[in-house]
Symmetry: D3
Subunit: 281 residues, 6 copies
């Protein structure tokens, strides 16, 4: 929207310019989407307004106004330069790491994982400011709309890719480092009915495969890889690969195979197959 109120144009916001360009090309090429693209992207002056508009519409309900949510989200974006930064780094991460992502515009409009993550960033800030009921209401709407349940207290770094998104559950005291890639159905869960620090800490550059369940206040070391469907209950050292249910380290506990590339960047889930010389199938 051509709004003056608040969202001042970032100087030289190249990502936003690129995204708008993509949206314009799509609108020109596909008449059936033009109205949608103008409403969600092209009418807005800044990335923050566009994203707040999109999230406000998606998270609204018959008892929770979209305009109120829009204002809330815009306000948080305007107050917090870290979030504005994170939005762009996340978007670049999705675009770079996910071969199914064809454009920034595609990420912005269509990726549940990206949208839920940015909505979480808003809820997290509200939580940090002590606005607990509001943060929890947003968490709840994210869970209903995107099927991703991220506790507003959870800490999430920048450059994070939530691929597909459906079924992700992240607990209250979990933290996720930078440049982490997390596939769908991943749980960073607690255990027990006691409060306190009870959820996993995920290091930078970690890759967590689809359906992996990581439980308890444990550390997944920097650059580690968690295989699809793994159930992890104990710390995983940096740059190692854990697979299976219960999870074991590829190469064994004492001398696990060391990864030389950052798995969240290669997005390579399966190169450890060759390790399984005795794989029965």
């Amino acid at each position: 929207m051509g709004s003056e109120n608040g969202c001042t144009m970032e100087e030289n916001d190249e990502l936003w310019e690129q995204l708008r360009y993509e949206a314009k090309c799509d609108a020109d090429a596909e008449l059936a989407l033009a109205s949608y693209l103008y409403a969600t992207i092209l009418v807005h002056r800044t990335m923050e307004q566009a994203l707040a508009f999109h999230l406000g519409n998606k998270l609204s309900s018959s008892t929770l106004s979209n305009t109120l949510l829009y204002n809330l989200v815009v306000d948080v974006f305007m107050e917090d330069p870290e979030i504005r930064d994170a939005i762009r780094i996340d978007m670049r991460a999705v675009r770079e790491k996910d071969p199914a992502c064809v454009s920034y515009c595609h990420c912005m409009l269509n990726f549940k994982g990206f949208l839920a993550c940015q909505a979480h960033r808003v809820a997290h800030r509200l939580w940090s400011q002590g606005r607990i009921p509001l943060a929890l209401a947003i968490q709840s709407r994210i869970s209903e709309v995107f099927a991703m349940d991220i506790h507003p207290a959870a800490k999430i770094g920048k450059g994070v890719l939530f691929d597909h998104g459906t079924g992700i559950v992240i607990g209250e005291t979990a933290s996720i480092g930078n440049n982490v890639s997390i596939l769908h159905h991943v749980t960073l869960g607690g255990t027990g009915k006691q409060g306190g620090d009870r959820h996993p800490k995920i290091g930078n550059g970690v890759l967590i495969g689809a359906g992996a369940t990581i439980l308890g206040n444990i550390k997944i070391g920097e650059g580690a890889k968690i295989g699809a469907g793994a159930v992890v209950l104990i710390d995983v050292p940096p740059r190692t690969t854990a697979v299976g249910n219960p999870a074991r380290l590829v190469g064994g506990r004492r001398n696990p195979t060391q990864l030389t590339e950052t798995p969240s960047e290669t997005m390579d889930h399966t190169s450890f197959i060759s390790e399984w010389s005795d794989y029965v199938i």
Copy 2:
């Protein structure tokens, strides 16, 4: 709503009084939620009306009227004291067992698992009365809105906690005892294309970890614990722990380790780790 029609105030409904008190505090503290809290909680005279209003709005669609659903749900609540009882016992269970639950109001408004369970109770009663198409339509809306697919014929006890909720699937002939705790992505599934009794029976006090898949007409004994990601195809004895894919009993089939506490109450998913002396990771 200040409605006289039907929902008479329960005498001394302390839980509802507490919930209203929480909602009032939240509304006073957080202006951005006040409208929402008045609409969903504070305007209503009884727990049943408030819950029916919330469910009616969530389950409605452009072809299924929210007011019609509200009336349906209120009617079922008014006819069936067992459901009115179960709502409160479930709510207390969530509040007590889930450390992320900060208030009854939080549970009522935000917990997909709680909401889907109460909506299922309505569908189940309709199913029992032979109103099959209506029960199935409600099941379908629960599945779309909360991503929980519970067949209306399934029997669910009281004091049940569905934590996070996303991805839960419960089949037609499944039954769940009292005080059971079920994490997200849990399947109580059947097998085969034949009808008949084909789904699991879950005993009282069982805890089922995230992503566990339990298939077939088998029994999970009272107070048993099913580990996250376990795939269970055979009966599990009472007060034992099954983990892994395929699942095995912790301590072995013949002399499995006996649990001394009710796992659904401790919500302790991972204390069996110490048992895994040979756990490779």
Copy 3:
């Protein structure tokens, strides 16, 4: 709707006649659903119109018009006799294989898996025509509404049953044969951040159990069975059963037990239990 524009009545569309008959019976028996059934089924002249109306409403949002989507879907259905055929074969498959499905009408209105699959067929055709942004927008709405993320480029045969649907993820270069049955939480995923052919190919008649994760450009042979929770990274031969995480063939890699019936038809997930003589539980 009594519309003349486009959707000509299929000659002798017995399935549609049967479905309408069921809807009429339900409307007569259950007053609370009559409005819904007239709006979604009985007012329409053809299966295609009814389905387009239902999908248009479900996939619409505050920025994406339901009428526009209705027209898009009707147009695709009218242009492509293969899709018209597939709709009916899928519906018969659901009705026949899923004992919880009580009628064609039930399938049409309530089955997320069926609805998401038909919406995907529309997205797939648009993708094939080069209408990429539109196909991706539809994918995104399917993912939000049905919690099923199917890349529009993925190829899906006829007679496919997606049971429960929640959490299914199907990648860009995946293909699925005819008469395949896929339970919820199944992933046909890729690996790595490179594009190219990187997803599984599922043969005809395969049955994939709940929560199975199949990764990479591998083949699941015709009539194979993948157990619930299996994590499969290597080809599975035809008519064999793979279970576990990591998956292994029942009977061993060299002489796996041969299946004599098509598993997607028997929907038998668990008959291999007897094979597990040493199953520990």
Copy 4:
């Protein structure tokens, strides 16, 4: 709706039975309206529920819930037998006096004048109970939705026909007797900025033609007729006809022509034409 809560079936409510019968015939004859008729009429058990549902939907907005309004209206209807009586007498009056009214169902669903009048009856009762802001909110919605602005304090008798409805304005201290017929654009207005009793009192059986403006605390005597476009600022005696701007009595002030039939029943607006021997046209 098959609701038990509150709206007990009136014994032998023949009007409602007739109305339902008409709705059923219409639904059978016109498929395009069947969903609408089931939702608005046929699913409801009583006239009061159906009317409350229809008004709740029409008067709702994005900030005023339809279900809340439904409950409010049902409650008022249940508390006040006078209103329940008036609804039916009004409906019979419309059906009898308006040749364009083809059925009770037609009146109930389509007549703005009838709907606005019944909504006013609700607002009036709330006003009488001191619920001023709520009464005024309903007045406002009636004015926006039906373009009829009736102050909630205004008193309206039974058997009143508001034909077409658009543009009617009725002030705070106005009263309208029984069996009155009022065409569109009629004003019963006050004058001056002082409060107090300042609006017209309309006697039983009066007919007020389209666009008539009646201002001030004056009396329109029983059975009088006010011509279309008349501007009336002084009392009109019973059974006389006032026409013109400014209004004059047909036949003269001293010996006005006496009406022998009740004009609101004959709905005869123009029989006085013959009187105008010097009518210039």
Copy 5:
């Protein structure tokens, strides 16, 4: 919409091409309207689809589907070339006669009088086909949404301008010729509670000023002019002017001033002022 179903492009539909061109210019010049213009005009292939989409949205309600209405309206437009013709002639008339109309696009999107008239044409055809309840439901929605109450049986010619529209009431047996211009608040009413032919017949080229009330089965002759606020109960000869309440002919009954131009084209409401040498003001 890029729909193939039914609305084939009229050959050389210059008006539609012009209208689209205007909409494109507006969308390019005013970003805040672009989404709206693409949704309502630019995505559609034919005038008929665009108009049906616009009317479907405006006339829909929570119980009356916009897509259903769209289909109904498109079907009627496709069946009846007379209506397709009338749409264009009306639009040209508005554009030409109303100096406030800046473009065809402006007329199509914003003119209540134009939109209500085209919706009436649909209702009129349905009425003629015996689809009475549907025609009456559309009349009712037109009355609520546009504040114009036109009985579906009323006959309306081509090239008709309803300026402003609010408050127009046209009775069942009224007829309106071609090239008539009717200002707001005009009533073509009946009288009495008897059915039968009881409403005015308006000749070609008549101009009826704001607030005029014309009652009974009388004739307003071709090219006559009815002054604002006139109350007309007797025939008005062709090419004469009637003013006042009660109306009188300008120039007197015996030798009324003859109009030499068609008043509905000049839209000259006040040139007769010079005639009123004794006008008191």
Copy 6:
């Protein structure tokens, strides 16, 4: 909303403080309105935000986003101190002159005339900036929602009361002075199909009664009074009263009775009655 973006709190905005106080009292006294009052008034920090939110919701449609309208309106309010001033002066005028107005909150939420006038101020500014299509779109929505058709080019002073609002039509080149009071159904119309300056100019302090029609580029002098239903085609001198159809000056053209009070303030419509010694009624 607690928004920082743009709408800075006016220093010492006593009117807004008073309005909020009234809304809080109403919310406390009437539970059924609390949600509505928090959403529309209490959650907002400034009068401008609250009004923009209310107008955005009312003027939105399925193709015109409420959030977009909110932003548009807020932007205009922020840019133009004259409008911010006018809002408050209008509100005070309504509160003071209309005895039916019980509070500022009542005016803000419920008065169509007030809301339409402020929306017009927005449209007028957009028109002045050359944003013609946007201004016309807003005019159209005002006309549909409030049944008041005010051309965006029309100039309206401050302290203007549009009482009831329904049916008001104000043409392109009309202007209205300060402290004018205009009842419903009033037309300030043009004549002829030529453009140019063709609508009335209304002086300060004028009172225009219900249903008055004023046509052409004429002047209504300062402090004049136009009687209900008057049809005025010639200038009216200051502080005189015109009544009737056609209108004449009370007291005669040459020596009309002089008004000693400002009629728009006394709102006295009928004190001239005593003048009509020969009034026939």
